[in-house]
C-alpha cells in the first residue's frame, strides 16, 4: 500500500516542479515592470518610493557586445561610477555573439536592460520606432555637464529631428593607412595627411598602380604587368557600405535624395564613385576583388607583410597596427570633390522601461567620459566622444601624442577631418536601410566582380529599391 502512495508523492513533487517552472516562465513574460524587479535591492528601492533618491539602493543593468578589451574598459568606467554613487550597483551583461537575437528575445520576454549598447544598422531604429527608448534630448538639454555641442559631430542618432535615441561613446572615421617602408623603398611621396592637400582620385590611382607589384616584380604601370599574379596590392579597399560611402559623400552623392523621397545610388554622383572604386579592382588591378580579399589578412598583418601598401579602413585598425609594430602611418582619404569621412560607431540607448532614468543617464555619461575609456582610446580602438578632447591641446595630447597607435599623420588625417569634414553614417538617417541594402548589395556584388557597370547594376534595381524607400530621419516635417 505504501509504495503507490510514495510514487504519488513523487508525481506531486514533479507536478509542483513543473508548475514552478511554468510560473517562472510566465512571470518573466508577463511582468511589465523591468526585469530587476526580482532583485531584492531593487524591490526595496521601489517600495521606498521617491523621497530620498540618493540613498535608495538601485541596480542598473546594461548589455554590451565587444572584445575583451572593450569590456574591460566598461568595467573601469563602471567601477568609477559605483564609487561615485555607492547606492548604485551596475550589472554588466556581456553578449559577445548574436547580440541582436539575444536582445530581441529579451524584449519579447519583457526582460530588458536599463541601458543597452546598440548598433545603428540593426535593431536600434526598429526598437525606437516602437517607442522603446528614452528621448535623450531631454537629458542633453538640461544636463549641466554634457550637451549636444560638447559632443563631436555625427555620434548622436535620432529617430527624427529632436528625438535622440542613442549616443555613441567612441566615434570611428575612415582614413588611408599605409606602410611607410613601402613608400620609401619605391621612392614615392606618402599620402598627405592634411585634408587641404589630399590626393585627387587620379593621383591616388597613379600611386596605387606604382605600388601594385606582380610576382615578377613589375608594377601595374608596366605593359607586361600580370594582373593574375599580384604579390603586393596598391590598396586594400573593403567593399562594404562603410568604406564606399566615404567616396559617395565625397563626390556629392548620397543613398537617398535630400528630401528622402527617392533612391539616389543610381544618380550620377553616386554611380561615378561606385564605378571608380570598381575600376580599382577590374580596370587598374590595384585592389583585390571581394574574392581575392578573402586572402588578405587583417589590415595590420597585410601592411606588415607587404601584401598591401595602403589600406582604406576605419581608424579602429590603429590598435592592431600599433601592436604589430609595423612602420605605418595614416593619411587623409583621397577626394573626389571634397574631403569627407563617414562616422560610424555603436551607441548607448536607454530603455523606456527603466525605473531609474536619472541614474541610467548618469551611468551613460560615465561610460562616455573619455577619461573612463582612456585605455581603449590610447590603445587605438576608440576615439573620445567629447569635442574638447579634440580642441584643447592638453586633452588632445593625452591621446594623440607619443603613442604607437597615433602616428604623425593622425591629428590631421583623423582628428581634423572628423571635426571639419565628416558625414553621418547612412544607417543613422536612411529609413529602412537594411531592406534597401538587401536589394543593393547583391547588385553591387556584380559591380565589384566586373560583370556589370555601376550604372547598369543600380538602374536594374532602382525600382525595387525605390519601393523600399521610406524617407530620411533628418528631414523635418
Amino acid at each position: 500500500m505504501s509504495r503507490p502512495r510514495k510514487s504519488i508523492s513523487v508525481l506531486i513533487a514533479l507536478l509542483l516542479l513543473l508548475v514552478a517552472i511554468l510560473s517562472a516562465c510566465s512571470k518573466s513574460s508577463s511582468g511589465q515592470d523591468s526585469s530587476n524587479a526580482s532583485s531584492p535591492a531593487n524591490s526595496a528601492s521601489s517600495a521606498s518610493s521617491g523621497g530620498d533618491q540618493s540613498k535608495e539602493q538601485i541596480t542598473l543593468r546594461m548589455t554590451v557586445w565587444g572584445a575583451p578589451e572593450e569590456v574591460a574598459a566598461y568595467k573601469v568606467a563602471i567601477k568609477k561610477f559605483e564609487e561615485k554613487y555607492p547606492n548604485i550597483t551596475v550589472k554588466l551583461q556581456h553578449i559577445p555573439t548574436d547580440y541582436d537575437t539575444k536582445l530581441t528575445t529579451m524584449v519579447a520576454g519583457n526582460d530588458v536592460p536599463d541601458i543597452a549598447q546598440m548598433e545603428s544598422a540593426s535593431i536600434a531604429f526598429p526598437l525606437a520606432e516602437q517607442g522603446k527608448f528614452y528621448n535623450l534630448q531631454e537629458f542633453l538639454s538640461s544636463d549641466p555637464d554634457i550637451n549636444a555641442e560638447r559632443l563631436v559631430p555625427n555620434i548622436s542618432y535620432s529617430l527624427e529631428p529632436g528625438n535622440v535615441i542613442g549616443l555613441g561613446p567612441g566615434p570611428e572615421t575612415f582614413a588611408l593607412f599605409y606602410n611607410e617602408d613601402i613608400f620609401k623603398d619605391a621612392g614615392l611621396t606618402p599620402p598627405p595627411s592634411k585634408a587641404s592637400e589630399a590626393w585627387t582620385w587620379d593621383q591616388f590611382v597613379e600611386v596605387a598602380k606604382k605600388l601594385t607589384i606582380d610576382n615578377k616584380g613589375r608594377n601595374a604601370t608596366d605593359a607586361d604587368f600580370d594582373p593574375k599574379n599580384i604579390k603586393q596590392y596598391g590598396v586594400n579597399f573593403p567593399t562594404w557600405w562603410g568604406s564606399y560611402s566615404n567616396f559617395i559623400f565625397s563626390n556629392g552623392g548620397d543613398f537617398l535624395s535630400e528630401d528622402g523621397k527617392s533612391f539616389a545610388l543610381n544618380q550620377p554622383a553616386a554611380v561615378e564613385a561606385l564605378q571608380k572604386i570598381a575600376d580599382l579592382i577590374n580596370v587598374h588591378h590595384v585592389a583585390p576583388s571581394p574574392v581575392q580579399a578573402k586572402n588578405i589578412p587583417a589590415p595590420n598583418i597585410a601592411l606588415q607583410t607587404k601584401k598591401v601598401a595602403m589600406d582604406i579602413d576605419g581608424q579602429w585598425v590603429s590598435a592592431g597596427l600599433a601592436q604589430s609594430k609595423v612602420h605605418y602611418n595614416v593619411g587623409v582619404l583621397p577626394i573626389m570633390q571634397k574631403p569627407m569621412t563617414t562616422v560610424v560607431c555603436g551607441m548607448f540607448s536607454m530603455f523606456k522601461s527603466t525605473k531609474h532614468p536619472k541614474e541610467a543617464w548618469e551611468l551613460m555619461k560615465a561610460l562616455m567620459d573619455p577619461d573612463a575609456a582612456i585605455d581603449m582610446i590610447t590603445a587605438g580602438t576608440w576615439m573620445p566622444s567629447y569635442r574638447d578632447w579634440y580642441t584643447e591641446p592638453t586633452l588632445l595630447a593625452k591621446w594623440t601624442e607619443n603613442l604607437d597607435s597615433r602616428p604623425s599623420g593622425y591629428k590631421d588625417a583623423i582628428v581634423d577631418v572628423l571635426l571639419n569634414s565628416s558625414h553621418q553614417t547612412p544607417t543613422g538617417y536612411v529609413k529602412n536601410f537594411n531592406k534597401i541594402m538587401d536589394i543593393v548589395n547583391p547588385a553591387l556584388d556584380k559591380v565589384w566582380l566586373g560583370q556589370q557597370s555601376a550604372q547598369e547594376a543600380m538602374d536594374s534595381i532602382a525600382n525595387k529599391a525605390q519601393a523600399q524607400v521610406k524617407g530620411r530621419r533628418d528631414v523635418k516635417g
Binding site: P4, S7, V10, L11, L14, L18, L22, D100, T101, T104, V107, A108, S122, I123, P126, L127, E129, Q130, G131, K132, P290, V291, Q292, K294, N295, N434, K435, D438, N441, P442, A443, D445, K446, L449, K464
Partner: protein, 295 residues
C-alpha cells in the same frame, strides 16, 4: 497492468513534458502567430488571417521564391550525393580488412566536430587563392574554381562541405549491412555469382529499409540547412545561397517580423511533410522488409 502504465508514464514524463513544452507548444504558438503581424518590438499584434501566406505566394516577396529555389537545388544535389557516397563508404568499411575499426573511426570523426568549426575550416580550404583545394588543382594543372564566391559554384561547394559530416549516415548503413545474414552470400557463391550479383541481389534489397530511413532523414536535414549560409556565405553572392531557413532567420531575428517568419516556417514544414510523405508512399514499391509482407 495499471501500475505498469503509471510507471511507464512516470519514467517517460521528462521526454513527454519536454516535447509538450518545448516542441508542441511553440509549434502551436508559431501557427497562431503566423496568422498575425506579430513584431517583437510592437506593442500591439493584430490578427491578419492569411495575409502573411498570401504575401508569400503572390510573388510580392521575391526572396521567398528565390530562397525556395536555392533550397530545392541544394536538396536535389545533396540527397543523392549523400546516399550514394555514404553507401559506398559503408560497403568499403564493411569489408574484412585490417584496421577496419580505425577507418570507421576516421570516417565518423568529422561528425563530432561542431558544424561551425568545420564550416570555418572549409572556408579556408575553399579559399580561391590560398586554399588547399585550389592549390591541389593548380599543382595538378587543373583549372581552379572560385568555389563559394561565384554564383554558379556556390551551391555545389556548399554541398561538398556538408558531405564532410556524412559519418552518421555511414554508421547507419553499416548497421544495416551487418544485419544481412551470411548464408545469403554463401548461397550466391554456391550458385557461382560474383560480387556484382551479391550486391545486386542481396545487399541492396536487404538494406532498402536503411536507404529509406537515411533518405528521409537526409531530405529533412537538407531542407533545414542553415549553418552553412550563416557562416560561409551570408546568402551571397547575389543571393545565390539564400537558403530558406537563413532567410527565415533573417526575417525573424534581424527584421523582427516574427509573424511573417512563422508563416515561412510553416511553409517549410508543409514542404518537408509533403516530400517525406512522397518518399513514404513510393517506399512500398522498393523497400523490402526481411520476412515481412509489403505493407
Amino acid at each position: 497492468m495499471r501500475k505498469g502504465l503509471f510507471y511507464g508514464l512516470l519514467f517517460t514524463s521528462p521526454a513527454i513534458l519536454g516535447f509538450l513544452i518545448f516542441t508542441l507548444g511553440p509549434m502551436i504558438a508559431s501557427l497562431v502567430l503566423s496568422l498575425t503581424d506579430y513584431n517583437v518590438f510592437r506593442e500591439h499584434t493584430a490578427f491578419v488571417g492569411f495575409d502573411n501566406y498570401s504575401k508569400l505566394f503572390s510573388g510580392e516577396d521575391e526572396l521567398f521564391y528565390k530562397s525556395l529555389g536555392v533550397t530545392f537545388y541544394f536538396v536535389l544535389l545533396r540527397v543523392p550525393a549523400v546516399i550514394f557516397i555514404s553507401f559506398v563508404i559503408a560497403l568499403l568499411l564493411n569489408l574484412n580488412v585490417r584496421g577496419r575499426a580505425l577507418f570507421r573511426t576516421i570516417i565518423y570523426l568529422p561528425s563530432i566536430v561542431p558544424a561551425v568549426a568545420s564550416a570555418m575550416i572549409w572556408m579556408w580550404l575553399l579559399n580561391p587563392d590560398l586554399g588547399l583545394a585550389n592549390s591541389l588543382l593548380r599543382w595538378l594543372h587543373l583549372p581552379a574554381g572560385s568555389w563559394l564566391y561565384s554564383e554558379g559554384s556556390v551551391i555545389p561547394s556548399v554541398v561538398l562541405t556538408t558531405l564532410w559530416g556524412i559519418g552518421g549516415t555511414v554508421i547507419i548503413f553499416l548497421a544495416g549491412l551487418s544485419g544481412i545474414p551470411k548464408q545469403y552470400y554463401e548461397a550466391i557463391e554456391v550458385d557461382g555469382g560474383g560480387w556484382y550479383s551479391k550486391l545486386r541481389h542481396i545487399t541492396i534489397p536487404m538494406v532498402t529499409p536503411t536507404i529509406f530511413f537515411n533518405t528521409i532523414m537526409t531530405i529533412i536535414g537538407s531542407f533545414q540547412v542553415f549553418n552553412e549560409a550563416y557562416i560561409l556565405t551570408q546568402g551571397g553572392p547575389n543571393n545565390k545561397s539564400l537558403f530558406f531557413v537563413f532567410y527565415l532567420w533573417r526575417t525573424g531575428f534581424r527584421d523582427t517580423e516574427m509573424g511573417y517568419a512563422s508563416a515561412l516556417a510553416w511553409v517549410l514544414f508543409i514542404i518537408i511533410l509533403f516530400f517525406t510523405l512522397i518518399v513514404f508512399k513510393t517506399s512500398k514499391s522498393w523497400v523490402h522488409y526481411e520476412g515481412g509482407e509489403r505493407t
